[in-house]
């Protein structure tokens, strides 16, 4: 009797256990399903938005082509600018970081830059130049092919119930050439890109990839590894160093260089990392990793030392334009002065530890990359340009400066430091036509 009771109890318990487990499992499954569907829907929505915006973009670009003056074109140009930003945002919601989806993104960036520069920023009402009109035509054509490609993929997704979650998984897999219609379709969109991309570089809107920090021809002769490390140690004025690694950079680097790590004090000192150009042995940057003690010096003492460091290393006519200090370090930005013009794009940065007044980092990649070879004679006078500023502004300082705008063009500008109440502004106005290039609100 007793035994029977136990068997029955065991039986009931087992059944209960199985039932609870399956309910729990089902719940888990449902929850997971809900999350997956949620993510999938988000991807689907982004893609549909992308195609919709590119579709509308194609239309507005086409409409703009029908207009004669900038003024009459402006509504379409502004609309294209808005649509390109929305499409760009939608495209970046898709799990496509690990695949070549460059063409669409690049195209959208071009449309954005072009429409902003011709339609939003320019205030005058002259006709579009022949070149600008040609660019607009090219963008219109491009928008058609991209739209067709995106639409084709969209149709396939709808017809075959394809899931973006699978795309995401497929992209993470080792073998990418497995059959995934979405990936194939998007690759096809990207495939026709080469001639389009080339037709836009270099003076057209940002081909950042190619343009960013393309170093100018550096003076000096080719160095091997030993020469480079000897030069670096000499340049840093270190003794008893131990070199830990030295590698030549790969072909992806913007400049052929050697990356070095070393320690001073027979390998017991702090770690130095640096990059030295293979040609000429220019120290592109270096960085020391060390703990920083309590602050012992003021900013002024630190900046004197930084300026001296520059002088000793062959930088002349440099002006300190920016000081940042945080966590017991100071970062100084120096810009070269040529014919009393500040060359902002060619800046040099120095970081100082405020415990022992020691320079612990240096960077001249901008200095090496930017020639700033624009004519340094302004066409307009400062007084003429100044009329663009609101009369409420009190101008405190006026300089001539070379400024690099978002399309990476160097432009000769008048730089005005002006105040209104407690706010300080920095305004760059084009020295040739008075256009506004940049307005900054300098926060304390």
């Amino acid at each position: 009797m007793r035994r029977r009771f136990w068997i029955w109890t065991g039986y009931v318990l087992a059944v209960l256990f199985v039932v609870t487990l399956s309910i729990w499992g089902y719940r888990e499954h449902q929850m997971r399903q809900a999350v997956t569907i949620h993510a999938e829907n988000h991807y689907q929505q982004s893609y549909h938005e992308l195609t919709y915006y590119v579709d509308s973009l194609e239309e507005t670009l086409g409409m703009a082509l029908a207009m004669q003056t900038r003024q009459s074109m402006r509504p379409q140009l502004v609309e294209s600018w808005r649509l390109s930003a929305l499409a760009h945002a939608a495209a970046n919601e898709l799990p496509l970081t690990l695949m070549p989806f460059n063409r669409t993104n690049e195209f959208l960036a071009h449309v954005g830059d072009f429409t902003y520069n011709t339609g939003v920023k320019t205030t005058n009402d002259r006709r579009l130049s022949a070149e600008e009109y040609r660019t607009l035509q090219k963008l219109y054509h491009e928008s058609m092919t991209i739209r067709d490609g995106l639409r084709a993929v969209q149709e396939k997704v709808m017809a075959n119930h394809l899931r973006w979650m699978d795309v995401e998984m497929a992209l993470k897999m080792k073998k990418q050439n497995q059959d995934n219609q979405v990936i194939d379709g998007l690759k096809r969109v990207n495939g026709q890109a080469t001639d389009y991309t080339q037709s836009f570089s270099p003076e057209n809107p940002r081909n950042m990839v190619f343009n960013k920090k393309r170093f100018r021809d550096l003076p000096g002769k080719q160095l091997n590894k030993e020469q480079a490390s000897d030069h670096l140690i000499d340049w840093l004025n270190l003794k008893n160093t131990k070199i830990q690694s030295i590698d030549a950079t790969g072909k992806g680097s913007s400049i052929p260089a050697f990356d070095l790590t070393l320690r001073a004090n027979h390998g017991k000192g702090p770690a130095y990392s640096a990059s030295v150009s293979q040609k000429g042995g220019h120290v592109i940057w270096f960085l020391v990793d060390r703990a920083i003690g309590s602050k012992r010096i003021g900013l002024y003492t630190a900046e004197q030392k930084a300026a001296l460091f520059l002088k000793q290393h062959g930088f002349h006519n440099m002006l300190l334009t920016k000081r940042d200090s945080y966590n017991r370090v100071a970062v100084f930005t120096f810009v070269p002065i040529r014919n009393q013009v500040r060359l902002y794009p060619a800046s040099v940065k120095i970081k100082t530890a405020m415990d022992r007044n020691e320079i612990i980092a240096f960077d001249q990649s901008d200095y090496l990359a930017n020639k700033c070879d624009v004519p340094l004679k302004p066409k307009l006078t400062a007084d003429a340009v100044r009329k663009q500023l609101n009369s409420e502004l009190r101008v405190r300082e006026t300089n001539l400066a070379v400024f690099q705008n978002t399309t990476l063009k160097n432009i000769l500008c008048y730089e005005f430091f002006a105040t209104r109440g407690n706010e300080t502004y920095r305004v760059f106005l084009n020295a040739d036509n008075g256009d506004q290039e940049k307005v900054e609100l300098l926060r304390d």
Partner: protein, 287 residues
């Protein structure tokens, strides 16, 4: 009679000492733009006392302090350079007064206050508690009005001005988010490798094929494994924050990389096809 003389000499001596002590309340460092600390508080207070400085007395030598100092130099016939050296400080000490107690007390209490000469001090303070009452009563612009000083308590005077002093164009939230990403992605890496991961984020922001702000770059689907597996929500350490500051200040150990991967764990075939730049720690960086 002789004794009296002695006492008089001593008295004069003590008085001059006191006076010179007061005059040298500034430390002997030269104060420039970007400086923070007690000297700047005194500089701002003294400039405000004689009406040149209308901003908040907060110990940060920013642009409004700079213009105020230049106006002072111009008015007093000195070289106009916006740098407070010895002669400037002496002139300033002669021309103004500095009630250290009053200012320290109000800074500590987080009060909104000003320090204009000729106005009774008790009319220039708005207590922190009153201030919040005032704003609930429907006068929110009272506290933000220019020329007043809103300040979290105990933030000054400790010499601990942390990441607040940021490079132009970056917010504190950006730095924190980046520190989270850098820590989640590369906490086992050498310092330079952490700077490199930060630099990749910055490079992506400025590249047209990627989103154009920091949070969108970090949260782009599939872009960073630390985001996918939730490690981004670990609490970052000081080193990661330091690395992020170096990266946003422009140091790029990768010479322009847009991608990186761990060769031991990377599964994507495509990433291997990118032109490589170099290896830092365990990561290979590429374009």
């Amino acid at each position: 009679m002789k004794k009296q003389w002695r006492w008089a000499i001593l008295l004069v001596f003590v008085l001059t000492c006191l006076q010179s002590m007061q005059a040298s309340a500034f430390s002997n460092q030269i104060i420039t733009q970007g400086e923070t600390g007690d000297d700047v508080i005194e500089l701002q207070a003294r400039l405000q006392y004689i009406g040149f400085y209308k901003g908040a007395i907060d110990g940060k030598f920013g642009y409004s302090t700079y213009w105020a100092l230049r106006s002072f130099q111009k008015n007093y016939g000195m070289k106009v350079d916006g740098i407070a050296g010895d002669s400037v400080k002496q002139k300033l000490v002669k021309a103004s007064r500095f009630d250290k107690d009053y200012i320290d007390r109000n800074l500590k209490a987080g009060n909104t206050f000003t320090y204009y000469g000729g106005v009774p001090l008790n009319q220039q303070v708005q207590k922190a508690s009153q201030q919040s009452k005032g704003s609930t009563a429907g006068k929110p612009d009272n506290a933000t009005k220019s020329g007043t000083n809103t300040k979290a308590p105990n933030q000054t005077n400790k010499g601990k001005y942390t990441i607040d002093n940021l490079p132009q164009g970056y917010s504190r939230a950006d730095v924190n988010l980046m520190a989270n990403a850098v820590y989640g992605e590369s906490r086992g890496e050498p310092y330079i490798g952490q700077v490199a991961v930060g630099a990749v984020i910055i490079n992506r922001v400025s590249d047209s094929r990627f989103p154009n702000n920091i949070s969108d770059v970090i949260f782009q689907p599939g872009a960073f494994t630390a985001v996918s597996d939730g490690q981004i929500w670990l609490t970052p350490n000081e080193n990661a924050k330091k690395a992020v500051m170096d990266a946003i200040n422009g140091w790029d150990p990768t010479n322009g990389a847009l991608y990186y991967f761990n060769p031991d764990t990377a599964t994507s075939a495509w990433i291997w096809s990118r032109p490589q730049i170099g290896k830092i720690g365990k990561h290979i960086f590429c374009k």
